[in-house]
Symmetry: C2
């Protein structure tokens, strides 16, 4: 897992280089089809990448996005009106039976289908109209890292094309930012010692960083066996806040941008409740108000933050697992490809 975390800057460069031409062509083709709905279908970490894609695509293209509920198709056998829809399946292995079945059914309903996978020969590629590949190299760790950020990168590239250029989506800068974020490793090696006895926590993010909260929580659950809840900073205030008592651990993603004022307010609220807060942020005010902070380079803006901000999260989970005496590469009860319908 640690090795695959380190590989990400290079893998991201490969993804951009290898898929740029295809995505540019796909973007032009899709613009002519007048897509009025995008449906994303995935499980596990890939579903967290889809959650990121959901925000980015809606914001940048104005096309409504729905995260698919696979059972509607696989078990309730519904036939949806999808004639003007683009349906994108996301699966590291490309072998997720439920994801593939939804893609097949969506195609039968008239949707244009795209598969996002790390395995260019996977079953998924024979079902969909077009395949986008992460080029992450084989992922050996059960806990996905490089394929997760690779999936996010493909969503950047697709959003930039479908959104008509989107000059602020300079995703080419992301691999370098990811490399800089990785430099936190030594500091994190020390930091995780403080969390060795943490049994549960809440991870908070919102908007474009919402998926980061989901993904870090999932990494903490699968590699550290921590009961990690995930919320948007808004949803957290609608009920779950009641759980927070003195020393309750809350991890927050606080990149710059439109979400920052809300996250700062939440940090203030958590301070009154004497919660224990760890923030991943480029904002020194947010950092100063928290129990601990992982400081990110200030030049990373909100649209480019999700991938570089994920790296210290991944390192935190992998290093904490080791500090707890666990093997992050072999989580109990799990295997790499999970079969569900």
């Amino acid at each position: 897992m640690l090795q695959e975390i380190a590989e990400q800057p290079e893998a991201l460069v490969r993804t951009i280089e290898a898929e740029r031409t295809k995505i540019s062509r796909l973007g032009k083709f899709l613009k002519d089809r007048d897509i009025d709905l995008i449906v994303l279908v995935a499980r596990g970490s890939s579903d967290n990448a889809a959650l990121f894609g959901r925000y980015l695509l809606e914001i940048k293209t104005g096309i409504p996005v729905s995260l698919s509920a696979p059972s509607v198709h696989t078990l309730y056998k519904a036939k949806l009106k999808l004639r003007h829809a683009l349906v994108i399946g996301v699966s590291q292995s490309g072998e997720g039976e439920d994801v593939n079945l939804v893609l097949e059914k969506a195609r039968n309903c008239g949707a244009y289908t795209v598969g996002i996978t790390n395995e260019p020969a996977a079953s998924m590629t024979h079902i969909v109209d077009e395949t986008l590949v992460m080029h992450g190299g084989r992922e050996r760790s059960v806990a996905a890292t490089k394929t997760f950020t690779g999936q996010m990168m493909l969503f950047y590239m697709l959003a930039a094309e479908l959104g008509g250029g989107s000059p602020d989506l300079t995703y080419q800068a992301i691999p370098d930012f990811a490399a800089k974020a990785y430099e936190q490793k030594a500091a994190l090696l020390e930091l995780v010692q403080r969390y060795v006895f943490m049994e549960n926590c809440v991870v908070v993010g919102r908007g474009l960083a919402y998926a980061n909260a989901y993904e870090l929580a999932l990494k903490l659950m699968e590699t550290c066996y921590v009961v990690a809840e995930r919320f948007s900073s808004a949803d957290f205030l609608h009920g779950p806040l009641a759980m927070v008592e003195r020393h309750f651990p809350v991890i927050l993603f606080a990149p710059p941008g439109v979400m920052l004022p809300g996250v700062r307010d939440l940090i203030g609220r958590l301070k009154e409740l004497h919660a224990d807060t760890l923030v991943i942020t480029g904002d020194l005010e947010a950092a100063a108000a928290c129990s601990r902070a992982i400081i990110m380079p200030r030049e990373i803006d909100e649209f480019l933050a999700p991938i570089p901000y994920m790296i210290p999260g991944q390192l935190f989970a992998a290093l904490l697992a080791e500090a707890k005496g666990l093997d992050p590469d072999a989580p109990r009860s799990l295997s790499k490809v999970t079969r569900t319908l």
Copy 2:
């Protein structure tokens, strides 16, 4: 909270009687508009009701449903393609600023908008094209119960109209089933003693019962301060299962129907891991395989189960809070109307 839980069968009858004519008219009107997307927007318990609505509406109408990400509209200021969309806001108070703002923006984008609320004079009613009211009577408890099931009932009525009759959606039977479910109260009063020292747990449901898992987890977080995670039985296998060790508490909704085989498989898996399982089910095999069971009447089918299966969940949370010496009506750190953008 306990009083409002008890009021539900009557409140549900009122909802059906008061809104039937209006929803029938609305259904006919919407059929002529050729809706090709339904967007649901809500927070907290109302968002859990929307999650139920999402499954029911997709399955019964074939129209794709998206759960709105409010920040896309309120903070990122995106303008979505919503000309053929039906956008439904759900808010107990009808005063949720973010929900109302999304409704306003959706209407400006050409969507037909509907508000679901318990307060017929709320701000929301002045924004939307049509209002549906729960008629639950004023809800005093911070933890929503009767307004949650009232919202679910309005989704039944809407799905039956938009789905062209749907003869299996005999929602008129639900209030009686809810009354029967309430008869579990005495048994639950004893059962909760076993969970007084539970600090965290996972709640599992899937498909039409997925929202039940979200809502029970939220009730446990806000009234019992239990760190309660929520998953579909499929998502739970994609990573979070690693958290489960001997005596780890897992609460499962297992109504009859297409989801039952998968839930039974999961129960088997949890048994091997020596988890502590509590199941709410009408299926005696599932009940026998769990540490504890709340047995539901067998005549409740999968489409009618979500409301009656919620009642013992609500009772469990309210009674457990009392058993823990907490006041379920006054959760710390919360107020009835939460303002977020």
